[in-house]
């Protein structure tokens, strides 16, 4: 089976492997590197990781489904992850989330038809001093109200 893994990813994986005394320990960072490439983990990515690290594919699947940052289907170009834990909830997180649902016409776990946005609610992001907050892909945005949120969405192409 051809796995179609770009050389730059293979080089990154070699570098990752050099940090651990056992190959299987590199599984999380290797999966992150693969996901970064495609935006999600395909079946073939999982098989390639299993082959490369010398572990059964079932072990890889076990890990992929355990950790919330791994995805098995594509997300939108901008993945909006709204924190709804206590400190953010005390600062209006639920209102922001329902605003986003209405405005984008999608529920949590869904992607807009044009592929621009996907939405999820997440647990504490460690930015409670900037509540309410969310992450767009890897970036944090805090102290949001509806207006600030609308302005942010405008900027995300």
């Amino acid at each position: 089976m051809s796995h179609n893994i770009p050389d730059r990813v293979k080089r990154r994986v070699e570098d990752i492997l050099s940090r651990y005394p056992r190959r299987e320990a590199a599984l999380l960072p290797v999966l992150s590197a693969l996901q970064e490439e495609r935006g999600f983990l395909s079946h073939s990515d999982e098989e390639w990781a299993a082959d490369t690290l010398g572990i059964p594919p079932a072990k890889v699947r076990e890990v992929v489904t355990f950790y919330s940052l791994f995805r098995r289907k594509p997300a939108g170009r901008h993945h909006l992850q709204v924190c709804t834990n206590v400190s953010c909830a005390l600062n209006g997180a639920d209102g922001l989330l329902s605003h986003l649902r209405k405005k984008l016409g999608i529920a949590e776990g869904e992607t807009s038809a044009d592929g621009r946005f996907s939405l999820s609610s997440v647990e504490c992001l460690g930015h409670c001093d900037e509540a309410p907050c969310l992450m767009v892909n890897d970036e944090h945005y805090g102290r949001l109200d509806r207006r600030a949120l609308d302005e942010l969405l405008e900027k995300l192409e």
Binding site: R19, P21, R22, E24, A25, A26, L27, L28, P29, L31, S32, L53, I55, K59, E62, V63, F66, Y67, S68, L69, F70, T84, N85, V86, S87, A89, L90, N91, E123, C124, L125, G126, H127, C128, D129, E130, A131, M135, D138, E139, H140
Partner: protein, 416 residues
Amino acid sequence: MNREDELFLTRDFGLDHLHRLETYVSRGGYRAAAKALKTMTPDAVLEEVKAANLRGRGGAGFPAGIKWGFVPRGTDALRYLCVNADEGEPGTFKDRFLMSHNPHLLLEGAILASYAVGIRTAYVYIRGEYESIARRLETAVSEARASGWLGDHIAGTGFGLEVFVHRGAGAYICGEETALLESLEGKRGHPRLKPPFPASIGLFRCPTVINNVETLCHIPGIIRHGAEAFLKRGLPRDGGTRIFSVSGAVARPGCYELPTGSSLRELIYERAGGVRDGRKLKAVIPGGLSAPMLTENEIDVRMDGDSLVEAGSMLGSGAVIVIDDETPMTLVLEKITKFYAHESCGQCTPCRVGTAWMARIAARLRAGRRRNGDVDTLHRLASGIKGRTLCPMGDAAALPVLALVAKFRDELERSS
């Protein structure tokens, strides 16, 4: 500058480029490492940390020196340091604050811990959501290696250390030390049964020290200025400062560094500006989401481990969440229970089933669809989880619910 002020971790946090090695060194950085490696034996470093009685800042409050002392000595066997930068306890953001302002302080702490215990490889396990901070740490590691503070022959001595930044992938349970080890080995974050403790069988079955970021950040100060100076701040049995993460309904949320044993009321009203928008304080979660909440008449308490246990709660990660009088407790209950239901690793039945069940009831209460007996069932479920799980996550899920039900039962019973 007063010598003792150097024991405040955040002393220089106003500086622009503290995260760069050059600035850190200009403020006395890496002097503790130089002193230890060149003039002290590993045992002398260990003894100093023991004398300081530095209590862990990650949640359990175990003295760092004693933990290091559990690692078998006198062999060449491989051993590891794992820096716990998973910071998943809701309300907590101090480790992010420390690492983003001063990554080299953490690296220097890691060097000292590794020197004391005979470790040559350290992993910083950082939560995946802290990507920008992980990159900042990696830059600091490269800088340190380039100037001889990491790698072989640190400061021209025979001691060497490599530090690797390892990203988690979104799982609160991986902050629990044995789940962290499993995760670092490339597996699901399922806590291990203890004993054996990580100090004897840890990462890759080798003796392993696991310390929180803030704990390690205290080590350079202790080595430079001595255990005695450290103990002058804070309480005699629980010295030094702590960084409190204050959030929720306060006017000035943020990190505040105070001596251990400082007053919770002062922290909220004098540092964090009191309750926002002129509202009144209804309850406070004093030590991260797992800590039982205190009511307005219970907040004249000192912020140290023993005092909070006496007050029926815990200091945990030092995260203070303030709840105002306009917030319905059903909202807080819903968020607390949803969190544990989502984060239970699923290994132990009481936790897996109990947290999901509590979350369903809490969602009903929140939606105004309370059924008769719901509050009693909540109490029964939480009591059934407590003490019946492999790791402390079960208690973490149960205790806040028990406290909320005990202190706000009337309000919950009225919700419909």
